[in-house]
């Protein structure tokens, strides 16, 4: 039953993907895209930087680091045109990635299909006549179910797809923004049913709205069952104290509609929109929670679609941030709240600050925050306008910004693969390396998501794991991820330590090596040559050079 169904779904996915690939591919589409592209919406301020430096910077910030082919593209079409095209991912053919993603059938499934294909373990256990409450049985269950039928296959594919896209997609800004906004509106697969909902969350709530308005993006997350489940709003109902149907009736086991849950309301104000000092009170949190009562999920363990339950909704009037929400608004109460907070000056400042911290500096320059917040308000939260204001700012293109941000573990690992022109099939080995560096993808438990600033990532344990990753990658020892260092060392150069170092550092760092790094690597090469002089080989080892460069302090920066 299960298998048959999965085959059907798989066939449907194949058909859909082929259709999508057909639509998106081909030079015609590209040509049309280019024709429709007005000559440069992004105005890069006059600068003393060389074209190479600009390319390096833009690929470090708007992409997951420079790759040989993206460097070539930027140099061909120019930095401004490249940025413009990144604002329109549909103009950029990405057939190789589309083809690779066909390996992950869950990406195209909705939540109900995922439940049918990967029933929760207790359900599978019962079908097999085992008792999930019994711990002996639990072991048997895990052994009895084929690995590819376990629900954890869902996040495994999601992680793999994220890594494939980050490494190989030509639509780099899109992938960087998916990561940013997913993290801003974080949900975690570690919480309950979110695992079955998160595929749709990223695909249907985050991805389509990256280049729309903030209000659209906010609305999509607010409606999505993954968020409703993660922050408990699906259970929040009008307060039982005020509206008890039958007074004195004992509460039924298994829950039922019994009262207000303020979890989503608080994080909506604190983390998604206004920011913690954005000017709201505990009373506002309660009132917002009342507005969202009834925003729930249809059969969260089988179907998992949004459902509005009018019976659960608090029908009284509310006052939020001084604004009266009149009685009787029903589901619209929530929409009014989203309208109110999405256009609030505190939200503009909060979102501007976070984006600037992501793209420009860990310490967002106040003048730029004000400027970008102004654009946010003036444009009605138009995200391309907001991004554009950042990418064309003096601050973005300043020497202070260049190579000043520490890479997150994801940025570090992916930029390393990209620097060597590598590929990945998204094998779990790459994600496990990220776990050890402190960034378990889709598993950030707190609603804040992963931190952006360096201080959170620079520590001894993480550094050891970064160095280990660089060494393993250079030696092509990460399963499923492929790089070939030797192709960057010309045969004629392979006996000269300086030539090897020059060619590998230009590929890996894309900017001149800082003198201390050059001295240290040269010393290591000299010593290695000395050690090996007693044997036969005297040629510098490109794997060691690449490993040292990938693990170097400079490569931790972007």
């Amino acid at each position: 039953m299960c298998f048959k169904r999965s085959h059907l779904i798989f066939a449907a996915v194949l058909a859909l993907s082929a259709l999508a690939a057909g639509c998106a591919s081909g030079r015609q589409e590209t040509a049309r895209g280019e024709a429709a592209n007005p000559a440069g919406r992004i105005a890069i301020p006059p600068s003393k930087w060389t074209a190479e430096k600009q390319t390096n910077h833009v690929l470090n910030r708007l992409a997951y680091g420079p790759s040989p082919s993206d460097v070539q593209t930027v140099q061909q079409i120019g930095v401004a045109a490249w940025i413009d095209r990144q604002f329109h991912p549909e103009w950029i053919p990405d057939d190789a990635v589309t083809a690779k993603l066909r390996e992950f059938p869950t990406l195209a499934m909705n939540t109900a299909e995922l439940y049918a294909r990967f029933p929760p373990i207790p359900v599978q256990a019962k079908l097999a006549g085992l008792n999930p409450a019994n711990s002996d049985d639990r072991e048997m269950i895990l052994h009895a179910i084929p690995k590819e039928d376990l629900p954890r296959q869902i996040p495994v594919e999601l992680v793999a797809a994220k890594l494939v896209r980050a490494v190989e997609s030509k639509r780099q800004l899109q992938e960087v923004l998916v990561d940013f906004w997913f993290n801003h509106f974080n949900v975690s697969v570690e919480k309950g049913q979110v695992k079955w909902m998160v595929t749709s969350y990223e695909r249907d709530a985050i991805r389509p709205h990256l280049f729309g308005t903030f209000r659209e993006l906010l609305g999509a997350t607010a409606h999505h069952p993954a968020m409703l489940f993660y922050l408990d709003n699906w259970l929040s109902t009008r307060d039982s104290d005020e509206h008890s149907a039958k007074k004195g009736e004992p509460k039924k086991p298994g829950g039922g509609r019994t009262g207000l849950n303020e979890n989503y309301a608080r994080e909506l104000l604190e983390l998604h929109t206004l920011g913690v000092n954005g000017g709201y009170t505990q009373k506002d949190v309660r009132e917002v929670a009342r507005c969202f009562t009834g925003w729930s999920i249809d059969m969260p363990r089988y179907i998992g679609d949004f459902a509005y339950r009018d019976k659960a909704h608090d029908k009284g009037s509310k006052v939020v941030l001084g604004q009266v929400i009149p009685a009787g608004g029903g589901q619209e109460d929530g929409e009014r709240i989203l309208d109110l907070v999405a256009s609030h000056p505190s939200t503009a400042r909060f979102i501007a600050t976070k984006l600037i911290r992501k793209f420009v500096s860990d310490d967002p320059p106040p003048a730029l925050v004000e400027k970008v917040a102004h654009v946010f308000l003036k444009s009605g939260g138009n995200l391309p306008a907001v991004y554009g204001a950042i990418f064309s700012s003096e601050e973005f293109w300043s020497d202070r910004a260049f190579a000043s941000k520490t890479k997150t573990p994801l940025e570090y690992a992916v930029s390393a693969v990209r620097a060597l022109g590598g590929t990945t099939n998204g094998d779990i080995a790459l994600a496990q390396a990220l776990d050890r560096m402190g960034e378990p993808l889709y598993r950030s438990q707190p609603p804040t998501g992963f931190p952006e600033s360096a201080e959170a990532w620079v520590n001894a344990g993480a550094l050891v794991n970064r160095i280990n990753f660089g060494l393993a990658l250079a030696a092509n020892r990460i399963r499923g991820t492929n790089v070939d260092v030797s192709k960057y060392v010309k045969p004629a150069a392979k006996n000269s330590p300086d030539a090897v170092l020059d060619s590998l550092s230009s590929v890996i760092l894309g900017r001149p090596l800082e003198p201390p790094t050059r001295v240290a690597v040269r010393e290591a090469l000299a010593e290695a040559a000395g050690e090996e002089a007693h044997g036969q080989k005297r040629t510098p080892d490109p794997l060691m050079v690449a490993g040292l460069l990938l693990g170097s302090p400079e490569f931790q920066k972007q």
Binding site: T258, T406, N459, V464, E523, P553
Partner: protein, 413 residues
Amino acid sequence: MKIDRRFFLKSSGLAMLGIGFAPGFLSRALAARASPNKKVLIAIFQRGGADGLSMVPPIGDPHYYSLRPTLAISRPGDGELTAVALDDTFGLHPALAALKRFYDGGSLAIIHAVGSPKPTRSHFDAQDFMEAGTAGELSQDGWLNRAMQAYPQNPSSAFRAVALQQNLPRSLFGTVPAVAMGSIGDFKLRTGRLSTLASRSFESLYTRALDVAIRNTGGETFEALHLIEDAKLEEVPAQNGAEYPNSTLAKRLRDIARLIRADIGLEIAATDCGGWDTHVSQGNAQGQLAGRLRELGDSLAAFATDLGDQMADVCVVTMTEFGRTVRENGNRGTDHGTASAMMVLGGAVRGRRVLGNWRGLSEPNLYEGRDLAVGTDFRAVLAEVLASHLGISKLTPVFPGFDRSAAALRLFG
């Protein structure tokens, strides 16, 4: 003997370095000597806002049972699913029963109704403020780091302060270096056939790095790597028949016990345990929260058993950013509240007491009509631990603006 071992480790670290690799931090390491003070402080942060009223249920308070119709822990009685009585007013959650032995033995004290004098119900602010050691103000560095600043060890060990987790907690941010590692086993360079040459080259790279933060972290990282490599800590077995449960917290505490035994200069260790944000289906004697408490209680009990007599020099303190609403919510859970409970476990602790300014759960005593009110400033507990256990006399820089004189708990002695 111990002095010699530590000195030997440091020296051998240096000896591994070839000529031309003599980074600055090593001169400090070379001069290292064991500190006369062997006290160790372990700070455990329960992230998410742990419900103090379930951890240490007020079994003598009738309001507790009326406000928590499905979540309250039953009064002590027959069977395993009732509170473990501590006195007439308080009990322990049955999942924490493993700690009763230490309470009875006088090495565990509990402080109830403890929290910040300027409370917030934001997880992230409340955690930041607690880790900053302030009343509602952010700071660049954390209270544990400032404690080490106030308590200089010259020279000091690379393992003076350790976080057993992937990322450094804010409480350890600051000028005194601290190491973060997921586990002892993870903390080694895997250089493969490149072996020691690559390791030395990285050391050289990092001690010359232009970025100050990366350079400092790099220096400490390599010093720590040398120390830990020689100590062969992964092989140290648990002692005294201690049985650690199979959980993340237990593994981390086990590694902390190994670091303490290795005598490589550990003074402060910090780690997190999560999963306390029980908005839905919190459970009572059994269920979600009970599972988290069992991990905490069993892990702590195994740790204290493992260290045995060495607990005389060790103090563990638990904390959480806030407690939870006194009334259960509509989803058999609890929302963000204010005061919660802390535990202090150690050989020198004057235990077998539930301390704090408990005013009960009657309506007029609740904070904003919904939360357990703060009777004791969390800094009173931490300050006393620093003063009495670590012997830090100057606490004003650690907890600026906090007046200790008003709040003596007499946790030690």
